[in-house]
Amino acid sequence: MTEEEKKEDDVRVGVFICHCGSNIGGLIDCKGLADYAGTLPGVTHSEDNLYTCSETGLTAIKTAIKENNLNRVVVASCTPRTHEPLFRECVSEAGLNPYLFNFVNIRDQCTWVHMKDAEGAYAKAADLVKMGVAKAEKLEPLDMIKLDINQVGLVIGGGVTGISAALNLSRQGFKTYLIEKEAQLGGRLNNLYKLFPHDIDASEIVNRLISNANNPKNLEVLTSTQIVNIHGFVGNYEVEITQNGNNKTLKVGTIIVAVGSSLLDPKGLFGYNGQNIITQYELEPKLKNNQIKAKDIVMIQCAGSRNDKRPYCSSVCCMTALKNALIIKEKNPDTHISILFRDLYTPGTEYEEYYRKAREKGIIFINYDVDRNPNVEENQVRVYNEYIGEDMLIPYDLLVLSTPLVANTDNKVLAQMLKVPTESNNFFLEAHVKLRPSDFATAGVFIGGSAKWPVDITESIAQGYSAASRASTILSHKTIEVDGATSNLPVYNKNLCSGCEICMKVCPFHAIVKNEDDEIEIIEALCKGCGVCGATCTNQAIVIKHFTDDQIMSEILAYGGK
């Protein structure tokens, strides 16, 4: 008997009631229930077994299918959440399409919870079986959506996160493209002098990463490259790029976003003038070729961050300030350095120790309150000190502002191309902060580094690897199967659809698009099957496979029907 199912009207349902030892059989008369099932319309075979999920139970199902050439199977036992895959596998082996199977829960949601009311439990079980059979009659064969995967990875952004992700992916054997907007890799790292907490030379890290990136066999680096447009979906992306003038299209399976973040333009912040009032980032190159001669240095933390315009902490500026202060102190110990801070973020073991070292070196830390910002005068800073209850005047001939990292201005454009969301500060928004930090809701796109949230180098590298491994879960298959129970706009409903695009707006996975001849199209590969679009479609044109209106209505009618 081949896979093709029987004719539509010739529905032949088989019902299998499970005793589950005494968990069900102990409370209700399973035999009676099986006989009752036999009387239901469309049921040609019903039986009860001690343990349907056992080997004997499964073989019983397979033989029953063959003997009575059943084209629908209903199993009444425990919960589908654990056993549905098992029974689908079983019916499929018997040549029946796995979706022509329906599960009725008469244990966890019936016998186990109505132990003192056997009669009520039996009545409930009977109704549930009746509803299960009614839905079974309306089931249609579905096939898993096979999706061939282009086993090529793409990493956008050649900063430390991007390089690590690309290295990781290419080392796993996947052909990987690494594209970078600027002329050379390294991103923000090129600008830094030393890296906390071990004061390793930034250029050393960069060169190591770049050298690795340039020689492994299946990694192709494309610098000064811009993305024009991205089409397609998981496993089948086509990314149009331009590299100084000539356009190319890369065919890739997954995309890792590692575009990092950018510096806040300090104009108008505490009288910034670029000469003796500069930012930490402008200080780094000066330290490198040690042009710093200043005697009194003042640093102001949280300059332009943790206010209502940018209500977040960039997590790297405190450590950067300490690092630079220590380097200066080392060069000429008698420079007076005072750091005005609101809260000093040095989490973890090494960072806290770094802070302690700075204190020992005599760097003065003065706390200021958020609504009494220090104000910068000609060559002194006036700051209110809570402890002494009055303003302190700290002279400076060099003032360094620890400004925050902000989201790239072009994040929105990339987000639109990838059809992924950005949060209120325009950083990229991951699928779930705890459970899926490196995924996007839209399948096939992953995220790492300060493109998601400002993080330091170690965290960036870690997130790079995480994104790479998440991507490899897809790239490692030639084809992947996506659950068949997705939403669908069938041909026979095409003239019903008015094109109002409400389904597009209500689908969080951007699985519904308008194709070029302006018709609504559902990308089943991206659809998770939640069915919200089906319940929302104004002209009731969208069908939710395996949970169609018809099927659910038949369950209601079976229960409520007189």
Partner: protein, 254 residues
């Protein structure tokens, strides 16, 4: 013997269904009156499912989903709330609104699942059997509930409820948040209008009638009936048939 309510529950697969299973595993006992239909997400519940159940005489319908923010599909339960609120406002027109309920039960709240189901069974017991249950429920009420089901499924209502959340909580096409109370006003106005219009369509199914006879049958002011007849004529669902003694008679057209 005492009244045993017939209840129907729609449980979302990832949270409330799992909660129900957990109640089973923990052997929490609760009354057996509720039959469960599993759906992938509470957002899948179409208002017509709920109203169809009540129309068949089921005494109560319970819709359960994940807590806000937990939804496996991110925003499914947000949509469920809006559809539930609309259904409730429709059912208020026939006094059946207290027979439906919406609640969030997470996969770890086995105990709570038992409690809420028991409470629902008791509340419905107190309320008594649905006026539509029994073997000869009053025909007028059946037509009213059927009108509600058709109205809730109408193109206009599905558009309004489909866009409500995004427009009032995020932004509409002009980039502004539309004030919620104003949207609710539009919704309530639309609900009443579509309800009355579909009652007219049902009343015209068996025979053509005049505005005045429809007004008395539906106990709605004749001038409002006239306005509805005009709109239905615009939608080519109703048409003018003839004039008998100065009174135009309208017929159903499909």
């Amino acid at each position: 013997m005492s009244f045993e309510p017939k209840l129907l529950g729609f449980l979302c697969n990832w949270c409330s269904y799992a909660g129900a299973d957990l109640a089973g595993v923990s052997r929490i006992q609760y009354p057996p009156n509720m039959r469960v239909i599993r759906v992938m997400c509470s957002g899948r519940i179409d208002p017509k499912f709920i109203v169809q159940a009540l129309e068949l005489g089921i005494d109560g319908v319970y819709v359960m989903g994940c807590h806000i923010g937990d939804c496996h599909y991110l925003e499914g339960n947000y949509e469920a709330v809006k559809k539930y609120e609309m259904t409730r406002e429709f059912l208020k027109l026939v006094g059946l609104d207290n027979r439906i309920r919406l609640d969030w039960v997470s996969a770890s709240e086995g105990v709570r699942f038992g409690e809420v189901v028991s409470k629902f069974v008791n509340d419905i017991k107190e309320l008594g059997p649905s006026p539509l249950s029994g073997d000869s429920p009053d025909k007028d009420l059946i037509n009213k509930v059927r009108a509600i089901r058709l109205a809730a499924g109408s193109n206009r209502m599905r558009a309004l409820v489909g866009r409500e959340r995004k427009i009032t909580e995020e932004d509409n096409v002009y980039g502004e948040k539309y004030p919620l109370e104003k949207y609710k006003e539009i919704m309530s106005q639309a609900i009443i209008e579509e309800y009355e219009r579909h009652r007219i369509l049902i009343a015209l199914e068996d025979e053509s009638k005049s505005v005045k006879s429809l007004a008395s049958e539906l106990s709605v002011d004749p001038s409002i009936i006239l306005e509805h007849i005009l709109t239905l004529k615009g939608r080519a669902q109703v048409d003018f048939q003839e004039i008998i003694k100065n009174t135009p008679i309208y017929m159903r057209r499909e």
